[in-house]
Amino acid sequence: MSETATGFKSLSSRTYVMAQENIDTDQIIPARFLTTTSRQGLGAVVFHDWRYESAGAVKEDEPLNSLDVTAHRILVAGRNFGCGSSREHAPWALADFGFQAVISSEIADIFRSNAAKNGILPIVAPKAAHDWLLAHDDVEVTIDLDAQRVDLGNGPSFEFDIEPFAKHCLMEGVDPLGFLMARMDDIAQFEAARS
């Protein structure tokens, strides 16, 4: 992969498939782990209840538990990934675990916004490409963010949409808070005009 210190340019890695539809943020990180006041270290509890028995034992048959994430940075998920709660802990946990992109046919709004702010590129794929990815586990994929293109090798490569400002922030490492702070005069004027 060729990620630079300033941001996300492109990514070549293998896919990990979770075909289930509507994977909600309670699956990504169960609520009882939200008592943290930090955003660090949440990879340890990502998909916790899929990976561990309720008594705490590791589920040996859960493929996530033996996944080499350094070779599988791209999570391919069933339709409507990330629905449910607004918890940013979900992308924090996915990123800390090692995922750098999520591809689905549909990604829930708040998760999509949160993911892009945390170095996880959310990609909505056309149905044919999504179906192909779901049917072909563990394939090499190249994502070119600048060209907004995903190369699937033997599969149906595709171009994807991304909100231009989110793309700019991801690629250039731009901080959206800094962007907002630079508009403080406009904000003060708006407040003055209303009062």
Partner: protein, 470 residues
């Protein structure tokens, strides 16, 4: 001027800088609600950069998610589920004090679930933009506010600038035509709406709810409907304010007073979709044929009428959900054994909800092997319920009458189900493990939940026998 929708009117009035192809709009936020779970990392950003909260007077904090609902004596440490929960709440106390933000904390008579207290205080008003690091912020849309959930990074943006970077969402109008039958509650209506739209039917959209059945709801019912907009994937839900809205707000602590009130109401009357306003999508539902609803699966769009059978699986996820829930396609949910019942949450934790549960429980007993938790949405709701004796009804029936909080809706404070248990819950999410690892959730109205508690099994409240009265 071209006709505008309610949503467009509120959106347009809050654009500090309009959107361009390169950058989203800078949207001004009138009210920022804060709680302990999604704010610590946001305050940390401000502290690291030496920034202040720009408008503390537009910021209101409470603690509800990690807080215990068990009683404790004044001066005692609250019985937190663990040290992390204690530390999280104390972090909010420290952050709000350091930044001059009002916290409705342990000593406040106004503490409660964030989406219950905003309206109660009159802080929630028509035409406002309201955000919170919480997906159920759409609740406040019942007042004609544009209210939506945000992530923690965005919480830091609003704390520091009182603004958010946002692309204008799409719009959808859901019209519930005709009057709903008397035994159909707001919860039943919204479960029917979500079943119709699907869990992703509202993705990218702000929904305006309209129609006679919506207008006939009281404010608490309207909050229940808007609350669950996110369960159809929508950013927000809105209902045009009317005389009921104004009557609800009049005289509340943070509502305008005197001449300011008159001016506010005059403005609020303009907050409705103009004739001819365009929506990206329109959905019409016949309210007259609605029935009390229950969910059978592990997504909120699996609502079915109480007398209906679990539908055949549409895809593999449905099959997995049916297995998890222990239900069989083609069979009714009625008779399914219930282990716990939860009445509460930002969806159904208000006074009218507790009254509906009490009506079923009065003179009856919770079945021996069922644990029933009744958790008011706020201290004010709790006090009002006690003033009319509802707590006596609950306790006489054998239910537990708790202190306010999110409790078993999100199960992060120690109130939760055990693996395999079936919980009939008035909350908003039936995701796998939402109410505890392995716990199974059936979403329902307060009346349906209370009937299940009495019968020890899922039952149509209308068929709960008179013989059950003792």
């Amino acid at each position: 001027m071209s006709p505008k929708s309610l949503f467009e009117k509120v959106w347009d009035a809050h654009q500090v800088v309009g959107e361009t192809p390169d950058a989203p709009a800078v949207l001004y936020i009138d009210l920022h609600l804060v709680h302990e779970v999604t704010s610590p990392q946001a305050f940390a950003v401000l502290n690291e950069r030496g920034l202040k909260v720009r408008r503390p007077e537009r910021t209101l904090a409470t603690m509800d998610h990690s807080t215990p609902t068990l009683d404790f004596a004044p001066g005692e440490t609250p019985p937190y589920v663990n040290e992390a929960a204690r530390k999280q709440v104390e972090t909010l106390e420290v952050n709000t004090a350091a930044h001059g933000v009002q916290l409705l904390g342990w000593n406040s008579d106004n503490r409660g679930v964030v989406h219950v207290i905003g309206p109660e205080l009159g802080a929630t008003q028509p035409g406002m933009t309201i955000v919170c690091g919480d997906s159920h912020t759409a609740t406040h849309g019942a007042f004609g506010a544009l209210a939506f959930g945000i992530g923690t990074t965005e919480v830091s943006h609003v704390l520091a600038t009182q603004c958010l970077l946002q692309r204008k969402p799409k719009s959808m109008r859901v019209t519930l035509r005709g009057r709903a039958p008397a035994n159909v509650s707001a919860k039943d209506m919204v479960l029917a709406v979500i079943a119709k739209l699907g869990v992703d039917g509202g993705t990218g959209s702000v929904i305006e709810y309209a129609g006679e059945a919506i207008e006939a709801l009281d404010m608490e019912g309207r909050m229940t409907v808007c609350n669950m907009s996110i369960e159809a994937g929508a950013r927000a839900g809105m209902i045009a304010p009317d005389e009921l809205t104004f009557a609800y707000l009049k005289g509340r602590e943070r509502a305008p007073q005197g001449a300011a009130w008159d001016a506010a109401v005059a403005h609020w009357r303009t907050l409705k979709s103009d004739d001819g306003a365009q929506f990206d999508k329109e959905v019409v539902i016949d309210a007259t044929t609605l029935k009390p609803m229950l969910t059978w699966g592990t997504a909120p769009d699996t609502g079915i009428a109480v007398d209906a059978a679990v539908p055949a699986a549409r895809h593999a996820s449905d099959t997995k959900a049916a297995q998890y829930m222990g239900v069989t396609p083609g069979e009714s949910l009625q008779g399914l054994k219930v282990n716990q019942v939860f009445v509460g949450s930002c969806t159904n934790g208000r006074l009218s909800d507790l009254r509906a549960a009490a009506e079923v429980l009065r003179g009856r007993k919770v079945a021996d092997d069922v644990r029933m938790l009744i958790v008011p949405g706020s201290k004010s709701v709790r006090d009002a319920a006690e003033a009319e004796g509802l707590h006596d009804v609950f306790q006489a029936a054998g239910a537990q009458w708790r202190q306010p909080g999110c409790s078993m809706c999100i199960a992060m404070n120690g109130d939760r189900g055990e693996p395999g248990e079936l919980i009939v819950s008035t909350s908003n999410r039936n995701f796998e493990g939402r109410q505890g690892p392995g716990a199974r959730t059936v979403l329902a109205s307060p009346a349906m939940a209370a009937a299940a508690a009495v019968a020890g099994a899922i039952i149509d409240p209308q068929t709960l026998s008179e013989a059950a009265h003792v």
